[in-house]
């Protein structure tokens, strides 16, 4: 079954310790919702706030995330879903969509020899 990375973008600095009780409650019920929609979360990670990020381009090391933006990557999970319609429905149900957004990207599998 196809797998997708669902990348969560939240308002900077996206500190998981600052999540509101309302948000946490929505997150609590999310796994259930994903299953109802026909998807399976394979694995997922939350990130420390973007203030802890360090970026490197060439040999220049910079404090902070890659691009200064209102929204930063807050976490991601790997979703198994039968097709993009299911993946998008799962992504839409994520509470991050309320004040940020999510990006859905299919995982790359090298073509068979």
């Amino acid at each position: 079954m196809p797998q997708y990375a669902v990348i969560i973008h939240s308002p900077a600095p996206a500190d998981p310790m600052d999540l509101t009780p309302d948000y946490l409650a929505l997150l609590e019920g999310y796994g259930q919702k994903v299953a109802e929609l026909g998807g399976t979360i394979v694995t997922g990670f939350g990130l420390q706030p973007s203030t802890t990020a360090t970026s490197i381009r060439g040999d220049v090391v910079t404090d902070g995330p890659f691009t200064e933006a209102k929204e930063v990557v807050a976490g991601f999970f790997i979703l198994e879903a039968p097709d993009l319609d299911v993946a998008l429905a799962v992504a839409k149900a994520n509470p991050a969509c309320i004040d940020g957004g999510v990006e859905v990207r299919p995982l790359f599998t090298p073509p068979a020899e």
Binding site: P2, Y4, P82, D83, L84, D85, V104, P106, A112
Partner: protein, 420 residues
């Protein structure tokens, strides 16, 4: 063109979507399907000249394209390793190479896949023209005034996304249908308006877009006869297109509705459009296309601008604003209000709309304002508004029309100041 070439061209026009949609099931890949269908049409030129035109050209082409696809798939393991297009399992999933006449009609799947919301609107439009209508890439690029490599890249990118992100090859479930259908209707409508408001220089290519859009709407209605908005869209396109011959003068200049020679309107198209609009209203589930069609049909049956039932036009715009709260609709409503309550009242509404950011840069706003000011004999202000509209207009015929009006009000303004 000889008889065989004519038969192949005819089959291209009528059957392309059907043949491609059916072949895509076998290939599981739109790119490969497109290639096989293209080959099948080329093969038809020889085969039909040799053996005669088959009884069912569509079935012949589909079988030929499918056979080519299976040959390629057998020969090339890379193709076989490709992930299949996702097709909802159903009874006719067992694809066979039998010479059977029973080929499932997959055109709706093809249309909904091309217009999937995960694709950008411009990609949806390009894919629909290429895959559903069978228009060649150079022709699409010319119609949208972009270079051929740009259009080719746009199509390739879209097809790659369908395969990689696994956009399913299916008609959406009932719950998603209204939203998904709306995307399909928007694509067809956009095709139409792109052709309809064409600069006169490219009018040949653009007239073709208009016809493609009408043909697509007809195809969709045949496939989804119970959707009132599909009926509404076809009605709207027919009623708008009925005025085509009167929209420009002999020199290609724009003629506005009130100055059009109504005897040039296509009466058959008007009659068909009206019947469709009435049928859409009869369902009691009217959407924005049906309401716009109803407005167009009030114009179409009126013998003149003065004799138009403007009160009912305003009433329909009120309905339209409720289902589609758009400042563009409100602007059009203001034009109708001017005919019922006079330009002064309409100007108040237009000035209110001018504060809406969504209309910033929309040239019809200053154009409508200018016309109202002109009718109020406030020529100096009208000239300013026409200048603003000219600066924003991107269509040659429209700009020329606005410049003529501008010259007129400048004359009137000077005539008044020097004369009295």
């Amino acid at each position: 063109m000889n008889d065989v070439e004519e038969a192949v061209a005819d089959a291209h026009r009528r059957e392309w979507a059907f043949v491609l949609a059916a072949t895509a099931r076998v290939t599981g890949d739109l790119d490969l399907a497109e290639e096989c269908v293209q080959d099948a049409y080329i093969a038809a030129l020889d085969a039909w000249a040799r053996d005669g035109v088959p009884r069912k050209p569509g079935a012949w082409l589909t079988q030929t394209a499918k056979r080519k696809a299976l040959d390629l798939l057998r020969r090339d393991k890379v193709f076989r390793a490709k992930m299949p297009l996702l097709v909802e399992p159903d009874a006719d999933m067992n694809v066979t190479t039998d010479e059977t006449d029973e080929i499932p009609d997959d055109r709706l799947r093809l249309i909904f896949t091309c217009c999937h919301p995960a694709l950008a609107r411009e990609a949806q439009v390009a894919l629909t023209l290429r895959l559903v209508c069978g228009v060649a890439t150079p022709d699409i690029s010319r119609a949208f005034l972009v270079s051929e490599p740009t259009m080719a890249a746009r199509l390739t990118r879209a097809k790659k996304k369908i395969a990689a992100a696994r956009i399913p090859y299916r008609v959406p479930a009932a719950a998603d249908l209204p939203e998904r259908l709306d995307a399909v209707l928007s694509v067809i409508h956009l095709l139409y308006t792109t052709g309809h408001t064409a600069p006169s220089g490219a009018d040949l290519v653009r007239a073709d877009l208009v016809e493609r859009a009408v043909a697509l709407a007809r195809m969709l209605l045949a496939l989804m006869p119970d959707e009132p908005e599909v009926r509404g869209l076809l009605a709207l396109l027919l009623l708008t297109d009925a005025r085509r011959a009167a929209r420009t003068d002999a020199r290609g200049r724009l003629v506005v509705l009130e100055d059009q020679d109504r005897s040039l309107w296509d009466r058959a198209a008007v009659a068909e459009g009206r019947d469709l609009a009435v049928a859409a209203f009869r369902t009691g589930r009217v959407g924005r296309y049906a309401v716009q069609a109803a407005i167009a049909s009030l114009h179409a049956v009126a013998p003149s601008t003065e004799a138009t039932d403007w009160r009912q036009v305003v009433g329909l715009y009120d309905v339209l604003l409720r289902i589609w709260p758009s400042p563009v609709v409100a602007l059009n409503r203001a034009v109708a209000v001017a005919m019922v309550d006079g330009p002064e009242k309409a100007l108040e509404e237009v000035d209110l709309l001018a504060t809406d950011d969504r209309l910033a840069g929309y040239h019809y706003l200053p154009a409508v304002r200018a016309d109202l000011l002109r009718r109020l004999s406030r020529f100096g202000q009208a000239a300013d508004a026409y200048r603003a509209a000219v600066a924003l207009a991107d269509n040659d015929a429209e700009r020329e029309f606005l410049e003529i009006r501008l010259a007129e009000v400048v004359d009137s303004a000077e005539g008044r100041s020097s004369g009295g």
